[in-house]
Amino acid sequence: MVYSYFPGCTLKNKAKELDLCGRAALKALGISLEEIPEWQCCGGVYPLSHDEIAIRLSSIRALRYAKQHEQPLLTMCSACHNVIKQVNHDMASDEYIRTRANAYMAQEGYEPYAGEARVVHLLELLRDDVGYDKLKEAVRKPLTGRKIGAYYGCLLLRPSNVMEMDNAENPTIMEDLIRALGAEAVVYAQRNECCGGYLTLEDPQIPKQRAEVILRNAKASGAGMIVTACPLCFYNLKRHAAESGVEIRYLTEILAEALDVRGSEAEEV
């Protein structure tokens, strides 16, 4: 299957590892990606306001492309995934938003869009389209002995009635991936609580306190490493991780490592 890939702004800059390792891993699994041409930044945060239409348009343009090409829209970044999937839901279910957004689409010469595209995160692709059993067979360097805590944060899971990735309070999709790669999955209470997000630009003390709570909890539960799919979670956790000794990595880094594509195909992509 071919996927329309939406990398997003950060994966082309500060979170290159998330992108490169993810692409290399998918290549090794025989999955083809077509990067959406001229994709535009998702905006980073889903507009929680009902009356703002224009800031939803970048997502709709990407979704429109995926629909036209009859491909699922693939994301690897938690934030892009949250924004695009929620906007897709708006277009499918909210007539107020759909009507107004489609007036912009008409101006651009396109047919109305009504949420037809399927939005998948890398985790869902691996679980649902590839299958963790098949992934397990592709593992060449199992991460045996590693104790890894999944950090979901907010954006992969909430709101669960829209995101539909997993149970929002007791998710297993990342733990099951960690186990498929041969490591031990460490389950800890703070894995789906916020890192403080963009408040790092408002008051850095707030993400600092949040990160310390999360890291303390993960370490006390036995984790030597935390993996995430969100560049902002990565930043907020890593900034305060030194004292705890917990390593912070993107989930695609351990995926590429287990598939033994790290450092080889990752550089060629």
């Binding site: 997003g8 945060v45 306001s49 907010c154 899971l157 997000g197 963009y198 949040r210 930043y235 890593k238």
Partner: protein, 130 residues
């Protein structure tokens, strides 16, 4: 009393698409809020105060800039009131006014370090600036 911000309950409801009357005052939103300690008014108070039309106290409070948009309150509300959307609506009512941007380009150099992801800047601009 006329508000200097001239924001009505109806405007907040229109921006947010939320009906605060659905709230049954259980307090779960505030109990689960990771920014509780940073806020003068907490999520359940946003809901109750919007319902009562006490918007001016909210628009004058720094609490609107302390929400992480983590959607915990929105997810865990047993009545689907979605308090985060009311907090967002009040914040928008503040920053949509002229010269009311909370984050300005000049502020950024002091806040940015080498590792800060683009996502942080984009998100903060969406939340704090019009």
């Amino acid at each position: 009393m006329a508000s200097v911000y001239q924001v009505t309950k109806e405007e907040i409801e229109a921006i947010s698409g939320v009906n605060p009357l659905k709230c049954m005052r259980c307090g779960r939103c505030t109990a689960t809020c990771p920014s509780f300690d940073n806020m003068e008014y907490h999520p359940h108070q946003f809901v109750a105060m919007v319902e009562r039309g006490e918007i001016e106290k909210l628009v004058r409070s720094a609490s609107v800039f302390k929400c992480m948009s983590c959607m915990a309150c929105l997810e865990r509300c047993p009545r689907q009131v979605q308090p985060a959307k009311l907090i967002e609506a009040v914040r928008l009512a503040v920053i949509r006014k002229q010269e009311a941007n909370h984050l300005r380009p000049d502020d950024l150099p002091a806040l940015v370090d080498e590792d800060l992801p683009q996502q942080a800047i984009v998100s903060a601009y969406r939340k704090f600036t019009k």
